[in-house]
Symmetry: C2
């Protein structure tokens, strides 16, 4: 009968993204808490279970929900560390609990002075006998039958209540409930379950051709190991390569995005496709597919991963242009249009037309590109400009790839309007670039990270923090130099579980095109001369930050961020505590790269398990220093020329 | 191609009740405003339409939406006064506007210094020619073709832009857009469209047997006209009768809910069913079905309506008990259970078991009861205790009845927990009882009515305000006497578009059972002696209030309520303005029935169309007095023994 009509109202589930159209996201081991309004007509006692299972699996796992007032219920479970990656579904099942309602009834009648409850006794006996029947061959059956007899022979109402409320009986009745009249919430809701690296990792981006830092020629895949080992020594987990595919020749750009390309200029890796092939091939100057496979294996052997760029730009020399001219935009004269953002022209790039009449063949080919690289062992794709392609394309292609390779991570490189950034994350991107790059003051950072970690975004938008990218040298770094780089390194590494730097950041490179947030002599357009150990680099700080991240579970997630009071508007203070409370850090960072800033911060002593006025030792994990603090209000002073932050642990 | 995949993201519609599972509600003539996030990849200009139609009708009506920032769009339409009652559906259609995007492109190129736009010109010409083709035989076709020629012969980029941006061309292109790549939001969303009386009416409740106010015997239907005419004279729109069906004899209750019934005691009308029949029949003491039909016709002839009580209580003498014992709850010995709320017993009422194995026949019978009375001409049902029956039953039965009688109004008499009250409204009840009965202070009233009119509830929960009911004589009225009755009358009649009083309220009857919020010698249990024109009655005030309601559109709706500042915490001040701004009132009410309260209130002069410091005349519609006021801050003094409120209109 439970299928005939719902007996319990179950509604207003939270979280729920666009009415359940999109899944929420978790990684293995993470907790899921679901709240819902659950109630039923009349006075029956209601019971509710939160149920979950990997999609396609049977049976459900179940956990009791509890009412937290005003007909609002809550329940929690953890995604098991051994769960399959992909989708887990969940629902809520609730029903009126006849036995608990019966106990309430006889208790009230007993209190009300009833002297005989013969009929009520028979009803209770029947309820317990039915449970015994449901228990079948389970030993509980005999125990329940014995309780039924005990109820039957209760001498008076008080004795009846005493027997009915024996914890052993209540426990047994809870284990063998009558769910025939239960209601189940539909449609089932979904959780995208990713591997831990989706929520915790540090990325190091470099152009393979820049690996050796030579100004006159490029490096090859075979010459990348030194750079990889340096990144590994700094503690990075992922090596992210901008496009490694053949670079177009037609309309190739020269240094600093010049329209005029000198002989020998290497071109922009984002103008993909040439005589050597398209997105399946690699640029001959970098080596062969075998060389790439070797490099990939070497990186993986070091316990690291590779992320590739997925940039859907075709140079005029891309094989698609001849093989599938219908996939591009055409002028009235039949020629193919290059990319434009008037009055800017990008003659070296032809955009794809996702709405062309042969869109199905295009979409399938793009999916096959991703599958091809996944088959070659790549499981992380950083997607270039996804916000200029249909959202539904990403929803489709990510689902297609993850169906075959569930451990694949997609990072959305969308720097655009807020709602487009959000919908890309909802539609399937595992991680997302953010506005962090331009949030510099304490107030800006607190506002933005409160939105990221306290709004519904926390359920689906994993912020991947980059203080710089090959395209973006923010004004703050240009102006602030080394202290600014240190500040942004600490913030990136501690505000979110996932962050990355684009190579050169560790060297505090901050020469910009005048009046622009772009690099002077950017390696996007040329070979780049570099001393990877130039004096003034902040590699020791980055190394320390990554080590602290690996040692402290508190920094391996994002939504545990809690801002703390500080009496200085340039000093940001926040706490992170791991789910099991075993790891808890207090981070204090100046946002002023120029002046000494000092003031009082308010330590959440209660949250850190301390009495309000206790004295305690705070160990700075960045330096090893130990400070003696007392109570909530403590003094800090940060001189950006010497120290930009404390990362503190109660000793 | 528009069916192949969505090209525009349309999401986060507001209002939307439980993800669109429930409709929003409107009456004929009311406005609907829908907001949504609408955006698309890339840089295309987006156009969006809000579309609506009565369910089952073709074609859609359409109105343009406009972007209000951050990819949020809004659109509004009115439910036509001639629309069919029932469900209207709506959706949003959006697409990238190729012509507007093309204009942006050539404008930017022109500004950027382009000297020739030959290819772009051909693209624009093609867009206009395609629109001409879509226009077909419409005269617009020739005009568009002429514009295409004009574009083709534009002498330079500036001339091209000038022609392209001619208002006539933009208007024509807007009328014949290319919607081949449009996206439409699904599923279509629903609006329950009710007749105006669903949102604006004043109810007068009386027991037919009490019509003549005789203490020794009851009145009949044929003796009710005097009471009806008195209610009509007071300006009421609806006569609401508690159950008029045969009253049970077994375990009949006596005066003041006594277990002992004296010979001649008339019994409780809520214990339904006896030798004369069940819910289809009428109590013989009141007359016959013909008598009822006569009374109904007389009431309707006076421009008023009748509301009947739908109380699903069966006395032990109800025909169902013999005909359908399976519809009731049974004890282990097979006997039928009476209603209980331990330790209270209601031996005169058998509750129905909505989950009994023959539930379908029960549900069908209950639907048929409603249909039977609808066929007899009753179109308003006040449903007794709906929160003790399955919510899904109401969702089903209301839909079934309204499918045949779309003008039927259902009032939910649920005084229970907030979420149950809300879900009953969402599931289909046209109007709902509220907590107003127990909200007395200014702070309580402001908080509750802000929730009702500013939260999502405004979309589906129509508050029907009763200052008293036959079951409820609130402490405030008991204690405060006549001034309290006057205060509650003003609040009921002006805070919501729908309100009602239970007879005796106009006489300020406030004798209660000691320590209870129930009437002493309640007419629920006995014949009631009354002088319907007893001295001290507030019929003149009620008459005036109903007249003001009828004369001022501002009081004919509820969600236009706006609270205004008052410097005295016992003086409530609020403004109501009709949608067309033609009617605007400022209401000032004391909530203190004992003491003179005076103080400064803040008139929203700007909202009333006045300059901040202007002087103006305020006419009190209750008394006809005129006050000279100036600016926002004005003084009021309310002496509850003389005057409890102003209802002010700028003269």
């Amino acid at each position: 009968m439970s299928t005939l009509f719902p007996t319990v109202v179950i509604e207003h589930l939270s979280p729920q993204i666009e009415g359940g159209h999109y899944p929420i996201k978790r990684v293995l081991g993470e907790e899921v808490t679901i709240d819902a309004d659950i109630f039923k007509e009349g006075h029956d006692v209601v019971l509710a279970l939160l149920k979950w299972r990997p999609v396609g699996a049977m049976p459900w796992q179940e956990v009791s929900m509890r009412c937290i007032g005003n007909d609002r219920w809550t329940g929690s479970f953890s995604i098991g560390a051994e769960s399959p990656l992909g989708f887990t579904e969940y629902t809520i099942e609730a029903w009126g609990d006849a036995f608990a309602s019966w106990i309430e009834e006889i208790q009230k009648k007993c209190t009300g002075g009833a002297t005989s409850l013969l009929s009520e006794t028979l009803e209770g006996v029947a309820l317990v006998q039915e449970a015994a029947k449901r228990a079948g061959k389970n030993p509980a059956s005999k125990k329940l039958a014995a309780f039924a007899n005990a109820l039957k022979t209760a001498s008076d109402p008080a004795a009846l209540v005493a027997t009915a409320t024996e914890p052993a009986l209540i426990s047994l009745m809870g284990q063998w409930p009558d769910r025939a009249l239960s209601s189940t919430y539909e449609p089932f809701q979904k959780i995208r379950v990713d591997r831990p690296g989706a929520a915790f990792s540090a990325w190091y981006e470099f152009f393979p051709r820049s690996a050796e830092g030579k100004g006159e020629s490029g490096s090859t895949f075979r010459q990348c190991l030194e750079r990889v080992d340096d990144a590994r020594a700094m503690g990075f987990d992922v090596i992210y390569f901008p496009p490694i595919h053949p670079i177009g020749i037609t309309a190739r750009k020269g240094a600093n995005n010049s329209l005029f390309c000198k002989p020998g200029d290497p071109g922009v890796p984002y103008a993909i496709g040439g005589p050597a092939g398209g997105h399946r091939a690699v640029e001959p100057e970098l080596g062969t597919l075998e060389d790439f496979a070797w490099l990939l294996a070497e990186i993986q052997a070091r316990g690291m991963e590779v992320a590739l760029d997925f940039a859907l730009n075709c140079s005029p020399d891309h094989p698609y242009v001849k093989e599938h001219p219908e996939w591009f935009f055409h002028r009235p004269d039949g020629s193919i249009k290059y990319a434009e953002n008037p009055p800017k022209k990008y003659e070296d790039v032809y955009p794809l037309n996702f709405y062309n009449p042969e869109w199905k063949s295009l979409w399938n080919e793009l999916r096959d590109l991703l599958l091809c690289w996944a088959e070659r062992g790549v499981r992380i794709f950083r997607v270039d400009n996804p916000h200029t392609k249909p959202v539904v394309f990403w929803e489709w292609v990510i689902a297609q790839v993850q169906a075959q390779f569930p451990d694949t991570i997609f990072l959305s490189e969308a720097f655009t309007r807020p709602k487009m950034m959000r919908v890309l994350a909802k539609a399937g991107f595992t991680q997302s670039y953010t506005y962090f790059t331009w949030r510099n003051t304490r107030a800006e950072l607190e506002e933005y990270f409160t939105e990221l970690t306290r709004s519904e975004m926390r359920e689906y938008f994993r912020p991947h923090l980059f203080p710089n990218t090959p395209d973006i040298l923010p004004w703050y770094l240009q102006e602030g130099g080394r202290p600014a780089f240190m500040i942004r390194a600490v913030l990136s590494a501690t505000l979110s579980g996932i962050y990355g730097i684009s190579s050169g950041f560790e060297l505090c490179e901050n020469a910009a095109l005048p009046g622009r947030e772009e690099y002077l002599d950017s390696e996007k357009y040329q070979y780049k001369q570099r001393d990877w150990n130039v004096s003034g680099n902040i590699k020791p700080l980055i190394t320390r930050l990554n080590a602290i991240r690996h040692d402290n579970a508190a920094l391996q997630q994002t939504n545990n961020l809690v801002f703390c009071d500080s009496e200085n508007s340039a000093i940001l203070c926040y706490r992170k505590t791991s789910a099991d409370k075993s790891s808890s850090l207090l981070i204090v960072v100046t946002t002023d790269f120029r002046n000494v800033q000092s003031g009082w911060i308010h330590v959440p002593t209660g949250d850190l398990g301390m009495a309000p006025d206790s004295s305690y030792q705070m160990e700075d994990l960045l330096t090893g220093e130990v400070f003696l603090w007392q109570g909530a209000r403590n003094f800090v002073s940060l001189d950006p020329s010497r120290r930009v932050a404390h990362i503190l642990r109660v000793k």
